[in-house]
Subunit: 447 residues, 2 copies
């Protein structure tokens, strides 16, 4: 177990100890664990919060989820609230302001000092899903002419407030980003060395307008802990830290998985019935409409089904296998786009590969289905009709599974969104059409 | 753009410059960018590798994917190969050894010094998907009695080789983990302070046998850059860094997305046709078998379909809407399990919520479908049969979407694996059964 103190012990300490004892006993407890305990505490939470030392309150609110932050702040006495808000880092304040009413937001901006309020207002001007929307402005920067010794004394003053002290950015007089030195570089070099002598110059930087998911892929690719954010003139504006990026990537992954299944972002397992219904129902109605298209296709062949009723039993198989094949390709493509493995350069090669896969699998499954159909009905033509329809539909399925997400991406729509409804509509409608159409053409051999 | 030097410029420099010029010009180029250029270079890659300074080669191989490492090493002259292997960190060596033949592995173990070989052999004894399988042994630890000043001099000697120097672990004489000090703590404190005075003691630690995905969730939860790995006696064995964890989480996410769609891990968009077919076909055959079950259900009602052939057009709608509903619940549950939001404690509440959602959506969609059926056939009973079948199937769908992944989890099988085949089989078979069964019961009102 990662925890040194059990949760029930924690709650015991929080309820029974004095403020001083708590400060001493819980000094090294991670705020996330404290938060877990408070979340689960059924009684009056403000009783517990009142007993926490201020520093702990600051960390607690810092660590909380956006809406939780508001809830916790509202439970605090006014003077603690002001202190906590003033200690929050700029990116956390931005998140907080995004979760409150305009009135509450004004109240919060009122509480923080003017300089920080200005910074926060500037941060609010960036798109919330851009690098600017997730960066913090509390970074450490030094000028090129400074020595290691000077940097160290500067650090001793600034480090406690910075978002991270492990990278020190080197800027010129106009705040243009010139290089970076790591704290490791600083401790292993002599005091009289200039930072410009040891700094790394070719730094990978994030443009402030870059999409947060793209920034996330840069972190994944290069394995950085922190990246600098710059404006179009290379002026350093802030930093993004890997812990925020992990949250971004987790949310983007959830979004992709959800959208492939027709779920909307923001739904959680423990949500309410009415919210779930509101979020899922639109998708089901879209599906109902497209299903009608498939039903209409079937209805065109009612005469044929009337003559050979077993067709009704086999037609969902043909459509369903196409749907499965299409979903496989679709998922591979959506994930390939998300991970940056699929590019416009290799897309034609991938399309050809997918169609070849569709044909190969269509032949295998088609032969198996033909045999099944033959033994079921005792009619070789019936088997052949199923097999051919299967091959055609599975080939089309891989084509659709590739084209739909690529087209959505081209239109700047998230490829995960709505892809599967298009693909399964195609495999349903065409599956029924191929199967019942072939059956109609060969009807004299089937009855 | 994050890159200061364009790719074609890079290749130009690599091909035309001398070894010394390259060392100077490309000093700060990130190895990942160098790797990208080498990956895309169509000519003889060993020509480029020959020109790279040794330090760059080390970084390059370090950054490469597992199989790529082998490829790059085999392109190097023997003396460079030995040097690169000796400079690799223990976790990278373990990954490398996992990608080569036993003979090559012996050859590699032969090249590294005895102490490191011993460490690597020990690392190889851990499960590859456990914390032990991804940790590195190059961490920095000091004894409790050491002062900040002593720690700093020690760091100046050790930091260049360590995996990360930002956290210094404090251990007792038997290497038990006692605390941690950050490099930030060290630079902001006086030289004569003892590390034991400023260390954080309640550290969250990863047991060496913990599943790598679970370790990943600890990183996500606490926002750490590095976590210590300990054995069952709390002896410190290694560290895990967040960049390795991001890879773990990316792979686990891909695995979940893939498995929900019936894709196998390891498939990439740019893979070969034969490999894709080999990986996807088994899943399709499983689906073919379950589809037969659905076809068999339909065949039981051939008499009814023969009398009211429009049933054939509507039956895929009933089954399909159930499938969509089931997939929504299934996906929410699988993701909830993966993110740790769904626990055994809240599972009953979630199940009840999902069933309520199923009923609510079933009523809405059922009414819409009833009206559609009524207008299509001009028969109110026909509409009612569709509506009721839809309601029943969608309710069962949420139940199945919840139960199947939970049951798999209980059996210690990945809930994402095979869940969807069970759920859609249930919604297909039951969808057909409810719809055609109700139609059979009301047949006198339908003809």
């Amino acid at each position: 177990m990662p925890f040194e103190i059990a949760e029930d012990e924690l709650i015991e300490i929080l309820l029974k100890s004095s403020r001083e004892e708590i400060a001493l006993l819980l000094e090294d407890v991670h705020p996330e664990d404290l938060l877990d305990v408070i979340r689960q505490y059924g009684g009056d939470k403000s009783e517990i919060l009142k007993k926490l030392p201020e520093e702990m309150l600051v960390n607690l609110v810092d660590q909380a989820e956006d809406e939780e932050k508001v809830e916790l702040l509202n439970l605090l006495p006014e003077e603690n609230k002001e202190l906590v808000i003033n200690e929050m880092s700029s990116d956390e304040l931005v998140d907080l302001l995004g979760s409150v009413t305009p009135d509450e937001a004004l109240d919060i901006l009122d509480k923080i000092d003017d300089e920080e309020a200005l910074e926060v207002k500037e941060l609010l001007s960036y798109e919330s899903d851009s690098a600017g929307g997730i960066m913090a402005t509390e970074f450490i920067s030094v000028k090129e002419a400074m020595t290691i010794g000077e940097t160290l004394s500067y650090l001793q003053k600034e480090a406690p407030d910075a978002e991270t002290a492990y990278y020190i950015y080197v800027v010129d007089e106009e705040e243009h980003l010139k290089g970076v030195v790591s704290l490791r570089d600083i401790v292993i070099n002599r005091f009289d060395v200039k930072v410009s002598e040891i700094m790394h110059e070719n730094i990978i930087r994030v443009p402030v307008t870059m999409d947060q998911e793209e920034a996330g892929h840069l972190f994944e690719k290069y394995g950085f802990m922190t990246m600098p954010v710059v404006d179009e003139n290379d002026v350093m504006l802030g930093i993004i830290t890997v812990d925020d990026i992990m949250e971004v990537l987790r949310d983007e992954n959830t979004e992709d998985i959800y959208r492939l299944a027709g779920l909307q972002e923001g739904e959680i397992v423990t949500g309410s019935v009415s919210e779930s219904v509101k979020k899922r129902l639109p998708w089901l109605f879209v599906n109902l409409c497209t299903a009608l298209l498939a039903a209409y296709t079937v209805s065109l062949f009612e005469g044929t089904i009337n003559k050979v009723v077993t067709l009704a039993a086999f037609m969902p198989i043909v459509a369903g296998m196409g749907g499965n094949t299409g979903t496989q390709t679709l998922t591979l493509i959506v994930r390939g786009i998300a991970l940056g493995e699929l590019t416009y350069e290799n897309s034609v090669r991938v399309l050809i590969k997918e169609i070849m896969v569709g044909i190969s699998m269509g032949v295998s499954v088609g032969i198996a289905a033909s045999l099944l159909g033959y033994f079921w009905e005792g009619n070789a033509v019936f088997g052949l009709v199923i097999g051919c329809a299967m091959l055609l539909n599975m080939t089309v399925a891989t084509f659709a599974g590739f084209m739909v997400p690529m087209a959505l991406k081209k239109l700047n729509i998230d490829p995960a969104l709505a892809s599967s409804v298009f693909v399964t509509t195609a495999t349903d409608v065409l599956g029924f059409f191929f199967f019942l159409g072939l059956a109609t053409a060969c009807i004299s051999y089937l009855i």
